[in-house]
């Protein structure tokens, strides 16, 4: 009996060590390869390492994840998906629809994710009632970044309406600077357009971009939105085409341009240049969108993996992502806000605190919407169809806003 007991403990010990050794690696496909982001991700990697889980890195940068998504398609088709994949919005739901994603519900229930993750985000982290992805952050996209000195030189205050915005831009033009720092890439044009549409009313935004109502897409309000976009083009310099967004930020930082309409990731550029929020630059919501937030959220979608050890490693990774300490550490670096509402805001700066408050407010008032420009309002085919029309309109290919609105309704219908 004694002997038997000894054997049993020995066996148990053996089983434990093997299961530790077998605690498999997680293979992670992502496009966070620039210094700050990668450093933030490294926090996650080391956290997992302390739990005996190895990290196999598969970085594929470029085009906001487009190259990564191509690589992913090849991996899934070959029946060899990575453990976790950085992903945005509707892509997650599309993959869930293909039945390619795993199930995190066990971890999520144990840790009570349902209570702390904003509902609008859960729409992308859950499918058919199952948790399929762990959200890392929330970016809000309807921000305007203004050079404080350039704003002061206009003698006007922070614009809160479209008319005030136009007045500020006109004044900046008179003062001899490029009023609007902008990069001519489809997603940047669309980011600006998101702000314009949202500024014309949250109901209109929802009808046009979330419900894809043809009347809203092709109607008079949309025509007016396009007219505003065409108007904004007149405040951009001639060299804008193809410019990266961070170069446009640099123009605002060094006073060459007055303002930039860009998501909260632009803040990182200002901070890195040693600029202080409130004294060197100001961050405001896109005029007319106060109280409402358009967001995009990076999530790690968890794919079907074989074997208990691999599933355990996947669960541990999801749990580590949702850890409030990691959420805080990562988002301070990234410029975004945590994907759960119970993370303390001590570590964040003024813009970050404002972002967290805005998110909570918009979440409770029902004015938190997925961003069309960033694939959180409609599936990829529709998003890209709107890109086509928005970019063409910004580059002056339509006679007026009404023509562009008609083209938008047509393009969205064709993509559905």
């Amino acid at each position: 009996m004694r002997l038997f007991g000894k054997t049993l403990t020995a066996t148990a010990a053996l089983v434990m060590t093997t299961s530790l050794a077998l605690a498999e690696d997680v293979e992670v496909l992502h496009w966070w390869t620039s210094g700050g982001e990668a450093a933030a991700l490294n926090v996650l990697k080391e956290d997992l390492a302390s739990k005996g889980i190895g990290w196999v890195d598969m970085p594929v940068a470029g085009g906001g994840g487009e190259a990564a998504m191509t690589a992913l398609r090849a991996r899934v088709t070959a029946g060899d998906p990575p453990t976790a994949v950085q992903m945005l919005g509707f892509d997650i739901l599309d993959w869930a629809g293909e039945g390619a994603l795993g199930d995190l519900t066990e971890v999520a229930t144990a840790e009570g994710w349902d209570a702390v993750v904003p509902t609008a985000l859960q729409a992308f982290s859950k499918a058919d009632g199952k948790w399929i992805a762990a959200p890392v952050n929330v970016h809000s996209t309807n921000w305007v970044w203004i050079n404080k000195a350039a704003l002061d030189a206009t003698g006007l205050g922070e614009p809160t309406t479209w008319e005030e915005l136009v007045a500020v831009l006109d004044k900046m033009k008179e003062n001899g600077i490029t009023p609007l720092g902008h990069g001519g890439q489809a997603w940047q044009d669309a980011t600006v357009f998101d702000g314009i549409v949202l500024g014309m009313g949250t109901d209109f935004y929802k009808a046009a971009f979330v419900d894809l109502d043809p009347a809203a897409l092709g109607g008079e309000q949309m025509a007016e939105a396009f007219n505003r976009l065409i108007k904004l083009r007149t405040y951009v310099d001639d060299n804008f085409s193809g410019r990266d967004w961070n170069l446009a930020s640099a123009m605002v930082i060094n006073g060459e341009a007055g303002m930039q309409m860009m998501g909260d990731w632009a803040k990182g550029e200002f901070l890195k240049a040693g600029k202080v929020p409130g004294t060197d630059f100001v961050c405001i919501r896109f005029p007319g969108t106060q109280g409402a937030v358009t967001f995009n959220s990076d999530q790690f979608a968890m794919f079907n993996v074989e074997g208990d050890a691999a599933k355990a490693a996947q669960g541990a990774m999801a749990s580590a992502i949702m850890n409030p300490t990691f959420q805080s550490a990562f988002n301070v670096v990234k410029g975004s806000v945590p994907a759960r509402t119970d993370v303390p805001n001590d570590a964040f700066d003024d813009c970050g605190k404002k972002g967290m408050a805005d998110l909570a407010e918009a979440n409770t008032s029902g004015k938190l919407f997925g961003s069309m420009a960033h694939g959180h309002a409609a599936p990829a085919a529709v998003k890209n169809a709107t890109y086509d029309v928005i970019t063409a309109a910004f580059n002056g290919e339509y006679a007026d806003g009404a023509a562009a609105a008609a083209a938008l309704a047509e393009a969205v219908a064709a993509a559905q």
Binding site: T33, E37, A38, T70, R73, A74, R75, D80, N246, W265
Partner: protein, 292 residues
């Protein structure tokens, strides 16, 4: 194959010659320009690039961008530089080039010296593989690699490159061997030499020039490939994917000097191959492939 290698017999006047030299030099400048821009800017500190003239020589010479690109630049989660990816590329390129060249040589040998009914059809069908756009094969290829259990591995990547390379290598060797006197083969056959013996003893020794063309062509194409590497490389991604990660990073200050240094580093092996083997390249083209 006994082509005249001397220059043309055409003679030109003095003024014409000056003009010719001038044009040749102008074009040399045109071809060198981008390389000069990359080289010069990879040796400057970043402030000199953003603030200065991109044609200007560095005010302060520095090798730091090169060091960073090679060993400390951020490619993925860890700042590894391009170094580890270099090895991945070598492990993939060398076998892929060797296999596709050998297979191409054997195919060319069969198609010219062991002809059979319908051999031109076989060749014609194989040749069309040179013209297939690679984007369309991605999904079906992933299915096949998955079935073979080669997805996301170096052998899988080698297989892909061999498959889409043999069209070219077969074309090169076939056209080259076509001008080799078939009588010599027949004579050897009568002497009792077998299929492989004839190939090994008679054809292979004279295959130098066309092998150079085939190797250069395959080496550059495979080394520079991005699409297959990113889709089927799995975690042993090749150099081009790493370089793309380096230059495409979405946020943060763009370190152009490091990007240029990395770009040159990634191109170095193919540049060396072209410069070292370039003279044999024209000779190899001359010896067969162009005459069609």
């Amino acid at each position: 194959m006994s082509v005249a290698t001397q220059d043309t017999a055409v003679s030109t006047g003095r003024a014409t010659r000056v003009l010719i030299y001038l044009i040749l030099l102008l074009f040399a400048l045109f071809y060198l320009l981008p390389l000069y821009v990359m080289g010069v800017n990879s040796l400057k500190p970043l402030e000199e690039i953003t603030g200065g003239n991109m044609m200007a020589l560095p005010g302060q010479w520095t090798l730091d961008p090169w060091r960073q690109a090679w060993s400390t630049a951020q490619i993925g989660v860890e700042p590894t530089g391009l170094k580890p990816y270099f090895l991945n590329s070598i492990l993939m390129v060398v076998p892929a080039v060797a296999i596709s060249t050998i297979v191409g040589a054997l195919n060319g040998y069969v198609l010219t010296k062991w002809r059979f009914r319908g051999d031109t059809w076989v060749f014609g069908l194989m040749l069309f593989s040179c013209f297939i756009p690679f984007q369309i094969v991605l999904i079906p290829m992933a299915v096949v690699l998955g079935k073979l259990g080669l997805a996301g591995s170096v052998p899988g990547l080698i297989l892909v490159h061999v498959v889409y390379g043999i069209g070219f290598t077969t074309l090169y060797f076939r056209n080259y061997y076509a001008s080799f006197p078939t009588e010599l083969i027949r004579a050897a056959q009568i002497d009792g030499a077998g299929f492989f013996r004839i190939f090994w003893r008679i054809l292979l020794p004279v295959s130098g020039p066309i092998a150079v063309v085939s190797v250069i062509w395959q080496f550059t194409n495979i080394w520079n490939d991005f699409l297959f590497g990113v889709s089927f490389g799995g975690t042993s991604q090749p150099m081009t994917v790493a370089l793309n990660n380096l230059v495409q990073s979405s946020t943060g200050v763009k370190e152009y000097n490091v990007h240029f240094a990395g770009a040159i580093l990634a191109a170095l092996p193919t540049l060396v191959v072209y410069i070292v083997a370039g003279r044999y390249f024209v000779r190899g083209l001359m010896a067969g492939s162009v005459k069609g």
